[in-house]
């Protein structure tokens, strides 16, 4: 496939081709682990998360993390199907505290799983404030949002970060610091809800009430 070299500050990625390189495989690596690694060097650690932007008085992002089958993509799609939500990510959400004290997440990570038509409108800024991270739990009879204690929140963010096996000791340290700071700055909540269309509407209302711009 060839090899990638990422500058220590994450600003440039060099690719050395090999004869058998398939463009599709190179693109997949570049827009996957290589980019995740370069962003980490720039202070953005990529959550394995779907995300929606709430477009009201002040645009902001809400991320959904959870195990496979927990409904991350579905919830983002269902929310986006009804306003005022815009689907931003299906799989990868780089988040960081590079503009302290407000955590932000990037809206433009390449998302192979999202069809071109489902990609967010180009009107979204490159980054938006990250208002909350919701950890999806099995369905319940009513919508429940339960804040996580900070230490557990930090470990949850660590666990749901992509690409950490590529990190050396120094980057792992910075990742720990970033997750610890994020866990203090961003509410991390357990979210469970009925998996029905009524349930999705209630989630929308609950998230807007809890994390929307004050009216």
């Amino acid at each position: 496939m060839g090899s990638f070299a990422v500058a220590p500050d994450g600003a440039t990625i060099r690719y050395r081709s090999s004869l058998d390189a398939s463009p599709a495989v190179v693109e997949e690596a570049l827009s996957g682990p290589v980019l995740v690694f370069a962003l980490a060097l720039r202070g953005f650690f990529s959550l394995h998360a779907s995300a929606v932007a709430l477009r009201d008085a002040g645009d902001r992002l809400i991320a959904f993390v959870g195990p496979s089958g927990a409904g991350k993509s579905t919830l983002a799609a269902v929310l986006a199907a009804r306003g005022p939500w815009v689907r931003v990510s299906d799989d990868v959400l780089p988040a960081g505290l590079t503009e302290e004290p407000s955590p932000v997440a990037l809206t433009e990570f390449p998302q192979p799983k999202l069809a071109a038509t489902a990609r967010p409108a180009a009107s979204l800024p490159e980054s938006l404030p990250l208002a909350a991270v919701c950890v999806l739990r099995p369905p319940t009879g009513e919508v429940r949002l339960a804040p996580m204690p900070v230490p557990e929140a930090a470990l949850t963010l660590i666990r749901h970060t992509l690409g950490t096996r590529l990190f050396g000791p120094d980057l792992l340290r910075r990742h720990l610091d970033s997750c610890a700071d994020l866990a203090v700055a961003v509410p991390v909540v357990r979210l469970s809800y009925p998996w029905t269309s009524e349930g999705a509407r209630c989630v929308s209302d609950a998230l807007r009430e809890r994390f929307g711009a004050p009216s």
């Binding site: 230490p151 929140a153 930090a154 470990l155 660590i158 792992l172 720990l176 610091d177 610890a180």
Partner: protein, 97 residues
């Protein structure tokens, strides 16, 4: 006092691969070589801090008794359990005088 492999004279230090970070009243340890994480509650974190620098377990135990108003038997039992766990994961090393 002795407890299995440990005596009050045993002394440890934090492994140089470990970094730790205070997070909301608890402490998360990162083994930066293996990329693994451990969470310590407040008492565990206090013991972790006291352990460093080759301090004898007797003194660590005394520090816990003073800080948390527990009996020395209770503090010793918890301390041995913690040190065993930390040593098993390579987070502390036996300090040689």
């Amino acid at each position: 006092m002795t407890d299995g492999r440990y005596t009050t004279e045993s002394a440890f230090r934090q492994s140089s691969d470990v970094v730790f970070r205070d997070v909301g009243g608890e402490t998360i340890l990162l083994d930066s070589r293996r990329g693994t994480y451990f969470a310590l509650n407040e008492v565990g974190a206090a013991a972790w801090q006291l352990i460093d620098g080759g301090v004898r377990l007797q003194e660590v135990c005394a520090g816990l008794v003073e800080r948390y108003e527990v009996t020395s038997e209770t503090a010793w039992t918890d301390l041995v359990e913690l040190v065993e766990e930390l040593e098993r994961h390579g987070l502390v090393e036996i300090a040689t005088a």
